[in-house]
Amino acid sequence: MKIINPSPKMNRRSFVKKVLNGTIAGSLYLVWPMGSESLEIPEQIPGIRGREYDIHNQEFAFIVDITRCIGCGSCCVADKREYNVPDGNFRTWVERYVKGFSDEVYVDCPNGGLDGYQHPRKDITEKVRDTFFVPKLCNMCREAPCVQVCPVGATFKSPDGFVLVDEKRCVGCAYCIQACPYSARFLHPVKKVAQKCTWCYHRIRKGLLPACVQVCPTGARKFGSMKDETSEVYKILKGPGVLTVLKKEMGTFPSLYYEGARREVI
C-alpha cells in the first residue's frame, strides 16, 4: 500500500507549533483584562477617585467604636498582610481589658491580638465584671510629637493631615519612637528606619478604605472624610455622642477618636 506523505505544511513540527500558539493565545485571552472597569474595586471613600485631589482641602477622621470590637484580630491580620509588618512589631494592635469586681483592671495583648482572642484569660482569679477590646493605631495627631522631634524631617505631616515617614530620609535615631505617647512606632528590624500606621494613605488616595477598616466585620473601625457630610464619621463626630481621645493631657490633638472608651483605657 502506498504511503501518502502528509502535506508539507502540516507536518508534526508545525502541528505542535500551532497547538502551542493556541495554548499561549488562549491563556493570554484568559488573563488579559477586557476593559479594566470590570475588575475595578468600587470606590469606598466617595469623592476621591477620578477627581483632582486638593491636598490642602482635606480632613479625615478615624473612629474606633469599642462597644463593637469583638477582638477577632482581623484588622491586625489585614494590616500585617498589607505592609508585611515584621514579627514582634505592630502598626496596629488590639488590647483586651478585663475588669474584676475589685476594680482591678487586667490588660493583655498577646502577639498584638493577631491571633484573635479565642480563649478567656485563665490567670484571673477574681470574678470578672466586664471585658472589652481596644484597637490601637496611629492617632494621627494634629500636633504630633514625632513630627516635632524628628531631627531630619523624615517624619512629616502632609497637607491633608497625615503623619507619614519618608523611609529614604529616616536616619533611624528612634527619637520619634520615644516621643510618641501612644507607642505606635517601631524601628523596622531590617530597614532600620522608623515605621508606623499611616491609616493606609496609599489606599485612601485611591478612594479605598484603610485595610483594617475594610476587613472589620462589626464596623468597630470607621474612617471617612470630614468634608463629606454624608460620611459616617462626619455624622458621629458632629452628632451628640460622647467621643474621647487617648492621653488628652499630652496636648497632641489626635484625629483618632474612641467611641465608648472606658476611663480605664490609656
Binding site: 512589631n89 483592671v105 495583648c109 531631627p151 536616619v171 505606635a184 532600620k192 528606619v193 490609656i266
Partner: protein, 395 residues
C-alpha cells in the same frame, strides 16, 4: 494604690504596649551623655584656671583641655553606632528640622569642637612653634598651620595669646553648657516619658557632667603621675576636690529633688515612676546610684573637707571618691536612659533590658568606644606636653 499592692499585682497586670517591649535607646545612648559630660567637666577645670584665675589648678589645666578634646573627638561615635542608618548621619546637618532639639546637635558639636581646638592651639602655641622650627617636610607644614603661621613668641604676642585664650574660654563655657544641657534637654523634652519630662533634666545632666569630668581629671592626673613616678601637686588636688564637692552637692540635690518632686506631687504618673524606682531600678538606682554612689562619696568628701588629713591619704581618698563618682554618673545615665524606657507608655507595666555583648551597641563596643579617647590622648601626649614644668610661671 500603694507600692506593695501594685507589685503583688504586677505579674498579672504588668501590661506593656507591644511596641514598648524593646528598649530602643540602649547602651550607646548611655555612653553619649557620659562622654559629653566628661568633656564638660574637664573643660570646667580648664576654665577655672584660664578664665577665673584659680592658680592652684595650673598643673591640670592643660591636661584638662586635651582630655576634653580627646573625648570630644569620640562624642559622635556612640551616636553613629546607635543610628539605624548611620550612612545618613549628615542629613542632620544638611536637612535639619528646625522644630527638633536633636537637629541642633551637629551645629553645637561643631562649634564646641572648633572652640576647643582653637583654645588648645593657642595654649600650646609656644610648644608648637618650637616643634615647627625643628620639624621638616609635611610635618613642618602641619605645625605651620597649627601655629597660625606665626613664630612670634615675644612678650606682646604671648599677652595677646592669653587674651585670646581668655576670650575663647569665655565663650567656651556657654557652649559647653549648651552642649551638655542640650543632651539633658533631649530627654527632658520627651513629654511622653514621665521620668524624663522635667525641666530639671538639663540641670541634672549639667551638674553630673561637671562631677564626672572633674573626677576623671583627678583620677587621670593621680594615676598618670603615679605611673610616671612624678610628684602629685596636693594643692591642685585639694582645689579639684573642693570644686567637685560643690558640683556634687548640687548634682545630688537636684537628682533627689526630681524624685522628691514626683513623689510629693503625686501626679497621674507618680505611681508608675514610684513603681519603676522601687521595682526594676531598685538595685541600680537606690542601692548603687544613691547609697553606694552618692551617700558614701558625700561622707568621704565631708571628711576630706572637715578634717585635716595627711597629703598622701588625702590624694588616695581623692582617687577613691573620684572612681566611685565616675561610676555614680554612669549609673545615673543608665538609670535615666535605660531606666526611663523600662516604663511602658501603657502606664501599666515595665519591660526588661538585657545588654548584649557583641552587637554594635553591646558591652564590647562600649569598652572600645571608651578606650579610643585614651588612645587619642596618648597620641596628643606625643605632640602636646600634658604638664607644665615647675619653673614656668604662666601658661
Amino acid at each position: 494604690m500603694d507600692t506593695a499592692y501594685s507589685f503583688a499585682a504586677m505579674p498579672i497586670s504588668n501590661y506593656v504596649f507591644p511596641n514598648d517591649l524593646h528598649v530602643h535607646w540602649s547602651m550607646m545612648i548611655v555612653l553619649y551623655p557620659y562622654i559629653t559630660g566628661l568633656v564638660d567637666g574637664a573643660f570646667i577645670i580648664a576654665a577655672l584656671y584660664y578664665l577665673f584665675d584659680i592658680k592652684t589648678l595650673r598643673p591640670v589645666a592643660r591636661f584638662s583641655l586635651l582630655f576634653a578634646l580627646a573625648f570630644l573627638c569620640c562624642a559622635t561615635l556612640p551616636l553613629l553606632l546607635h543610628l539605624g542608618r548611620p550612612e545618613r548621619n549628615l542629613n542632620m546637618l544638611l536637612t535639619p528640622s528646625p522644630t527638633s532639639a536633636m537637629a541642633g546637635f551637629g551645629y553645637i558639636y561643631a562649634v564646641s569642637m572648633g572652640v576647643l581646638v582653637f583654645i588648645v592651639l593657642f595654649v600650646y602655641r609656644p610648644d608648637l612653634v618650637e616643634l615647627r622650627v625643628t620639624s621638616k617636610g609635611w610635618l613642618q607644614f602641619l605645625y605651620r598651620a597649627m601655629t597660625f603661621d606665626s613664630i612670634d613668641l615675644s612678650e606682646d604676642a604671648l599677652v595677646l595669646d592669653k587674651k585670646i585664650i581668655r576670650f575663647l574660654v569665655g565663650i567656651g563655657i556657654p557652649i559647653a553648657v549648651v552642649l551638655h544641657g542640650y543632651v539633658g534637654f533631649i530627654f527632658g523634652g520627651v513629654k511622653a516619658n514621665p521620668t524624663w519630662s522635667t525641666p530639671l533634666m538639663p540641670v541634672i545632666f549639667l551638674f553630673s557632667a561637671c562631677v564626672s569630668g572633674i573626677c576623671a581629671i583627678i583620677l587621670a592626673y593621680i594615676v598618670i603621675r603615679k605611673i610616671k613616678g612624678r610628684t602629685i601637686d596636693h594643692r591642685c588636688i585639694k582645689t579639684c576636690i573642693k570644686t567637685l564637692t560643690l558640683f556634687f552637692i548640687l548634682a545630688f540635690a537636684f537628682e533627689m529633688l526630681e524624685v522628691f518632686s514626683h513623689s510629693y506631687l503625686r501626679t497621674g504618673y507618680h505611681h508608675m515612676v514610684e513603681g519603676l524606682l522601687n521595682g526594676p531600678l531598685a538595685d541600680s538606682f537606690w542601692f548603687w546610684q544613691v547609697k553606694i554612689g552618692s551617700v558614701i562619696p558625700l561622707i568621704i568628701l565631708g571628711v576630706m573637707g572637715i578634717f585635716n588629713i595627711k597629703d598622701r591619704l588625702y590624694d588616695f581618698m581623692a582617687a577613691v571618691v573620684s572612681t566611685i563618682l565616675l561610676l555614680q554618673v554612669f549609673l545615673m545615665r543608665w538609670n535615666v536612659v535605660i531606666g526611663g524606657q523600662l516604663m511602658s507608655k501603657s502606664a501599666r507595666g515595665y519591660t526588661e533590658f538585657h545588654p548584649e555583648w557583641f552587637g554594635k551597641e553591646g558591652i564590647l563596643a562600649v569598652i572600645i568606644v571608651m578606650v579610643i579617647p585614651f588612645i587619642i590622648l596618648f597620641v596628643f601626649s606625643r605632640i602636646f606636653p600634658f604638664w607644665t614644668t615647675g619653673n614656668e610661671t604662666d601658661v
